[in-house]
Amino acid sequence: MATCGDKEKQWRYVRWECRYRTTDVLQRLPSSISVPFMAVSEHLGLPAVPTLAAQNLWNYRLVDSQQPVGNPENLSALQTFTGTADESWFFVMVTAIEARGAPIITLALEAFDAATADNVERLINCLRRISEHLLSLSELLPRMYEQCNPKLFYHQIRPFLAGSKSPQIPNGIFYENDSGGGSYSQYNGPSAAQSSLWQFIDIALGVTHWPTGTSRKMNRHAIEEFVPSGRDAGFLEVN
């Protein structure tokens, strides 16, 4: 029984449950959220679900403005679902990785130029420096365990990261519009696979991924959908 107080509230919960609930999931996003959310998403060129951009790129503050963004200890998440330090650490670790990986972008462009100019020494120097930065990034990820309890993550944080797509909701989520109607949409939730940095590194180094299953061709469109258009996507196309 819902523990919500007065009779009017209880009735509202009953109505919501009878109409829209399937196995603990509300399937309809009310217009008070969906209408502005879709407008904001359209402006940014992103789907109307939390993405890596919402969770990690635009969701941090610096503890000390004089210290680097690449130190996760110097970051704190602006917004979480659980209010736990674990969730904040989970978000800002990815933020720190993105920051530490930044120099790779310019180095990769210089490497391209060196290869084009047939300057082997300069190319090797660029690739060596890129590998040093990649090693620095690989040292960060295991630190996730320092302040993010795996069980807490799995049971309390992860359920919020489903986006609008889950086996529990075969049709996805119904996004109400401001005319009394709406439509269903299904989008994956936030994932490190949405990182423009790692896609750029893959492009720069010629890394090819094959998903599990019979197909050997990666559908980049599925990933590019989550890269803000008009900026990152254009940058990836140039390269």
């Binding site: 449950e17 959220i33 904001v40």
Partner: protein
């Protein structure tokens, strides 16, 4: 062929040479006053989810126009707020309320 490092203007793509795909400045922590109700819900989001009051708060929220968002940092902050509220609303109910 022009050198890539010199010819590609990272700023044109809102890519930072120091912060990569993170914004060049730390994210905004507050949207304009018109959107205070989004900020208020977001600030209390974990507590609202725990007490199962988020559905009520969202139900009582008016539809605020996105047209008063002016700068890119403001659009991004709005995206963060609405994304968290949306997911909290959709996925935060099962714990507190039994399915009938």
């Amino acid at each position: 062929m022009p050198a890539l490092a010199a010819s590609v203007n990272l700023e044109e793509f809102q890519v930072s040479s120091t912060n990569g795909f993170l914004p060049s400045e730390p994210p905004l922590e507050k949207v304009p006053e018109y959107y205070d109700r989004w900020e208020s819900i977001s600030l209390r989001l974990p507590a609202l989810i725990q007490s199962n009051d988020l559905v009520d708060d969202v139900t009582q929220l008016p539809i605020l126009s996105a047209k008063l968002l002016k700068t890119e940092p403001e659009w991004r902050r709005a995206y963060v707020l609405l994304g968290f509220i949306a997911s909290g609303y959709l996925w935060g109910q099962g714990k507190a309320v039994e399915v009938r």
